[in-house]
Amino acid sequence: MEEDGRRSGGIDRRAFLQGAALGLATLALPLGRADASFWESFFQKHFREMNDDEIKQVIDRLEKEYAQKFGKQIEIGADKPIPGVLYGYGLDLSRCIGCRRCVYGCVEENNQSLDPQIHWITVLRFKKGEKWVDLENSEKYYNPEKVPEEEYFYMPVQCQQCENPPCVRACPTQATWKDPDGIVVIDYNWCIGCRYCMAACPYGARRFNWGSPKRPVEKINPKTHYLGNRPRYRGVVEKCTFCIQRTRKDPGRYPACVEACPVGARKFGNLLDPNSEIRYAIEHKRVFRLKEDLNTYPKFYYFFAYGK
């Protein structure tokens, strides 16, 4: 099949017959599979329509599948939202030095594909004193010797966990939704890969698995959540979940990006808790949210803790 792309002038008879044979084989494949797991996963119900027993069964099956595929035990949690919690995120732009440690900390934690490379966090670099709000003058692929650079400032962007998420409205199959703790999640076994959510997202936060996600086994984080960092499939959309596998535990743990930040620019907490750090930032700093004109109500607050 590799050859098709290069041979633009036409395909010879042999290649053509090979292609046709392969086509028939592909069609026959599901029927010929020995294991029942293909059909079980084909007929798997929508996550929110399953009861706890059914979820457990699915997780057992998936853990077996992963063990077979990776030769490693991967634990899939299904922790539910904690009542009385609404997660919020704060990002202090005056501190961010553009080091991208959050980007790689996220990749390490959340089992993103290394080839093709998928990042959930994008750090944008802006030149001081130039246009900012249309993002068009930002640079995503900056690569200096050292950060921070005197004449630039940086703005990391990731899923803003909107209270009014356009992606959720767009999804034709309800494969993505906002849970009561405010996290927008995706059922990777229900997503059909139409990518309408990606067109709908104003923050470029959603990533598609264009190819089969690849990641060395030793780099797979075995502590996962069904709706979060478990290994994904080719042809489905994924995105930041505020590290649902950590933050929904009790006691929880900060998202990986918060932990990775060397300058403490990242704040995370419960918006419903008046004593939380995030509430302090919102109430005492000059906060703004990205593209507020779109009324998406992100729960991701940018602020400036100090001047400069």
Binding site: D4, L22, D134, K140, W210
Partner: protein, 532 residues
């Protein structure tokens, strides 16, 4: 049931048999379709990474073609409106071919959506009840509803009309009239909903303009009919179907108005974007002027605009639209112009610059182009097959067996309960007739073959006492009123009409009598069929 199966094979044969040119055309299209299929298999095994789409530009050539084809499906409705509302005869005759085109275009739309999906096996998740259709929140769910509905409506209309014609009957307006009326707003809805699909996204300023749906409709009313005009000319050249020039010129005139509106709307959009010059004009700048040195679409867009403007004038002036050279040129211009403008020219700038300001220039890969060609070839193949079936039905060359032709003597006859031999005494014959209530008796030989008939009239005509001692052989008449059991009702009627007796004997292929048929049997089954 048997009738339906028989008719299915007749239809199949219609598609399978043709002249050399037909086979050449079909093999050419099949070759392209298989080429596309093999490219798609490559995509299935490696993922959409074989396309040039990426997170920045997450829809590309497939969705562009989908968008264009939703517009083509408009063709049918543009023809339906004057045909049925204003009873414009020359167009009415050819609406059927427009509807078949709509069916083809929607089928291609569905194929383009399927090949664009990352997980095509999960397509059932989008259905209501079995899946989890996000209706009414998701515009994509709306699109699934309206497109499939449109496919069903047009299929029902087209196949009902074809079916009635094929059994030699007029179609009933009381049956399809309401469907035709429904199909008009429905066609508008498929364009509107597809436009809203883009329009509703506040994240994409290029699409988030309320002019999008009207522009979408206007351009659809250009490209669809232009394709029809070319198809009509091919149809009338290759078949005996007559398509009035008046119809062709009328449609050409309608395209001129649609294109005029389309250009006006484009102008309105260009004015707003460039005169106000906010940051949201970046995509249109990218389209027509290039943005930060990225200008891959610029020559295409100017080419498309030139095509559309030239076509507008060619369609506008009666002199050029009624000359087939300039008319066909104009059609090709419109198809190319709108294909670029409503295809990649609509979809790509939605993503350039992307929501974080990045400019990723998208150029489809060879595999993507092959899959696209494959779907176009499949569409052409489907339309060819539909025409191959529809044209002979339409011209009256192909008629399916109707029920009257399929009901045979064996189905309506009264089974024979008794036969007699030549040597059977008449006394016994009379007893048999009376006990079994028969008016005529079949006389058979040793091998049960029918050799004669003894009727009650012949016996009555004998004087009293004459019967004794006589046998059937003395009275029997030659078996002329016989019919094979395979004769259908119409043939039976003809035979019966030519005879004075009201009874026919049915014989099998060995000449053995198996039943009888009376005039009333035929009348009854004709009445049953009529009532159906």
């Amino acid at each position: 049931m048997i009738q339906a199966i028989k008719n299915f094979f007749i239809a199949l044969r219609q598609i399978a048999v043709g002249n050399k040119k037909y086979y050449l055309w079909v093999s050419f299209l099949s070759f392209l379709a298989l080429l596309g299929a093999s490219a798609y298999i490559g995509q299935l095994s490696r993922g959409l990474i074989i396309t040039a789409m990426r997170d920045q530009v997450s829809w590309g050539m497939y969705i562009s073609n989908f968008t264009f084809l939703v517009g083509v499906a408009a063709a049918a409705v543009l023809l339906v409106i004057p045909a049925y509302l204003y009873n414009f005869k020359p167009i009415k005759e050819i609406v059927l071919f427009g509807e078949l085109l709509a069916i083809t275009a929607i089928t291609m739309c569905i194929l383009f959506i399927i090949v664009d999906m990352g997980q095509p096996l999960r397509v059932w998740h989008i259905l209501p009840v079995v899946g989890a259709m996000n209706f009414p929140a998701s515009l994509l769910a709306w699109d699934v509803v309206v497109l499939n509905g449109y496919l069903i409506i047009n299929s029902v209309i087209a196949f009902y009309v074809l079916y009635r014609l094929s059994i030699g009957k007029e179609y009933k307006m009381s049956v399809i009239g309401p469907l035709i009326i429904l199909s008009i707003p429905w066609a508008v809805s498929i364009h509107t909903v597809t436009a809203f699909l883009y329009n509703g996204l506040s994240s994409r300023p290029f699409w988030n303009a309320s002019i999008l749906a009207p522009r979408f409709l206007a351009s659809a009313f250009c490209s669809g009919p232009a394709i029809m005009l070319i198809l009509f000319q091919i149809i009338r050249k290759l078949s005996v179907v007559e398509i009035d020039n008046k119809a062709i010129f009328k449609i050409a005139e309608l395209i001129a108005y649609a294109m005029g509106i389309n250009l006006f709307l484009l102008g309105a959009e260009i004015f707003k974007e460039f005169y106000s010059g906010s940051i949201h004009s970046a995509p249109i700048q990218y389209l027509y002027l290039g943005l930060h040195g990225h200008d891959k679409l610029v020559p295409w867009m100017w080419f498309a605009t030139t095509m559309n403007i030239s076509a507008f004038f060619l369609f506008l002036f009666p002199k050029t639209r009624e000359n087939f050279t300039t008319l066909n040129m104009a059609c090709l211009f419109v198809i190319t112009g709108v294909y670029i403008e409503k295809g990649m020219g609509l979809v790509i700038p939605g993503f350039v610059p992307d929501t974080l300001g990045e400019i990723y220039e998208y150029t489809p890969t060879t595999q993507e182009i092959l899959v696209t060609i494959g779907i176009w070839a499949s569409g052409a193949l489907l339309y060819t097959f539909l025409l191959k079936l529809a044209i002979p039905v339409y011209t009256g060359k192909l008629r399916f067996f109707s029920k009257t032709q399929l009901t045979a003597a064996r189905d309506i006859m009264t089974k024979l309960v008794a036969t007699i031999r030549a040597e059977t005494p008449l006394d016994e014959v009379v007893k048999l007739m009376l006990s079994k209530r028969l008016t005529d008796m079949a006389v058979v030989d040793d091998s049960d073959k029918l050799i004669g008939i003894v009727s009650e009239r012949d016996i009555i005509s004998l004087e009293v006492g004459q019967a004794s001692g006589k046998t059937a052989a003395d009275l029997m008449a030659a078996p002329t009123g016989t019919v094979p059991e395979s004769f259908h009702i119409q043939e039976l009627g003809k035979v019966l009409a030519s005879r004075t007796a009201n009874l026919l004997f049915v014989v099998n292929e060995n000449g053995q009598p198996v039943g009888t048929i009376e005039g009333s049997d035929i009348l009854k089954s004709l009445e049953d069929i009529r009532r159906e």
